[in-house]
Amino acid sequence: MIHINPSNAQPIWSQIEEGVRQLVARGVLLPASSVPSVRELAKELRVNPATISKAYRRLTDEGILEVRRGEGTFVSTSPPSLSNDDRQKRLTHAASNYAAVAITLGAAASEAIDCLQQAYSEIDEVSR
């Protein structure tokens, strides 16, 4: 299930991209399983098909999805191989977002790290 909030500042394609990435990371979408067509998802989420296409294109470029001509779009069979640099950048970016939230909420570093550890093991467990 992907939820989008059109009035969110994050562009809709980015919300979809993140939603799919989450589903793959959590193992809800398994490698080689098919994902909804652009048209299906556009109707389901009631957004412009071009928006879905953009999210799918980005996910395909990232190696999370793959398009098989005539068959549809699938979750990749092999996990995406990012360059170390790219991987590092993304981790840092996500981490600073999380840190900002934690600080805003007045959480100490130790509390934030505990929380992160717990979330990590929960998702990791499910996706095994």
Partner: protein, 295 residues
């Protein structure tokens, strides 16, 4: 149009419309890129309908000119109407005719006319084809009008406030039908609407009409990146270098809405202040006072 690389489906250049002493459109420029959904927003009485009529060549502006698909709207109206599908704000369909009869009429009027697809469309939404148009529900009437507009396989589809007066289910069905069509065709859609949630989901380019001019005309994504709401501390003044759209006192204290240029959005911008929905940006730009007449 010259000077742009992107193909243009519709444009207005320096368009002014006077009704007596009232200036409805004021040297307005507009550009609808080909192959996307373009949403025109504006409060009632801001001249949206006038602009749509001018675009469709139904009304001649006092000054300036308009083009659809590269042709002058006014001079080439008959030829253009074979390539442009229109769902007007108020139906212009003979109310006694039923959907079957309307579809038969269309096949005599238009060189391309996909009756089968139109019938499939109406069946999908259980619109009876043997009941006269005037006796259908408002939602069904819009479905028929959309089916008629799409039957000619238009290059440009103009929808003038299509969800006006529809309940939420009828609205959902109408947009689903539109999305279905968007998924399979490269049609350009020009949409005016008060339904900001739908606009936010559908459009790629958004324009806001106010006092006869477009206040903004840009990709929705860019618009939302440029705007933030910032809370000001007691006695704090907004840096005069920051372009503020408005400052006001809310129940939480003073706040400002700021809009940067896309090229000069500061690094820190995404962290400070609150991102705004299209509705909030719209209200900040056009104001919320309830004065103003109907057009």
């Amino acid at each position: 149009m010259t000077g742009t690389n992107q193909p243009i489906a519709a444009c207005a250049k320096g368009v002014s419309v006077h009704y007596g002493a009232t200036l409805v459109l004021d040297a307005l420029d507009l550009q609808v890129p080909t192959g996307g959904v373009y949403g025109l927003l504006g409060r009632n009485g801001t001249g949206k309908s006038t602009l749509v009529r001018c675009l469709l060549g139904q009304e001649r502006p006092s000054r300036g000119h308009l083009e659809l698909l590269g042709l002058d709207s006014w001079r080439h109206r008959p030829a253009l109407m074979r390539r442009v599908g229109v769902v007007p704000e108020t139906p212009q369909v003979p109310p006694r005719a039923n959907a079957d009869e309307l579809l038969a009429m269309g096949s005599r009027l238009y060189p391309i006319w996909d009756v089968d697809e139109a019938k499939r469309r109406l069946r999908r939404f259980s619109v009876p084809s043997d009941v006269s148009f005037g006796r259908l529900s408002k939602g069904q009437q819009k479905q028929v009008e959309l089916a008629l507009a799409l039957a000619q396989r238009p290059e440009l589809l103009v929808l003038d406030d299509p969800s006006l007066g529809l309940d939420s289910v009828a609205r959902k069905v109408l947009y689903e039908e539109l999305l279905e069509h968007l998924a399979e065709s490269g049609v350009t859609v020009f949409l005016t609407s008060h339904d900001l949630d739908a606009v936010e989901r559908l459009v790629e380019t958004v324009a806001i009409l106010h006092r006869g001019k477009l206040l903004v005309e840009e990709p929705l994504e860019d618009l939302k990146r440029r705007f933030r709401r910032i809370s000001l501390r007691e006695g704090e003044a907004l840096d005069s270098a920051i372009p503020a759209v408005l400052q006001r006192t809310s129940p939480w204290g003073r706040e400002a809405v700021v809009a940067h240029n896309l090229q000069s959005i500061p690094e820190s911008f995404s962290h400070e202040g609150h991102a705004m929905s299209l509705e909030e940006i719209f209200e900040a730009l056009v104001g919320t006072e309830t004065a103003g007449g109907e057009s």
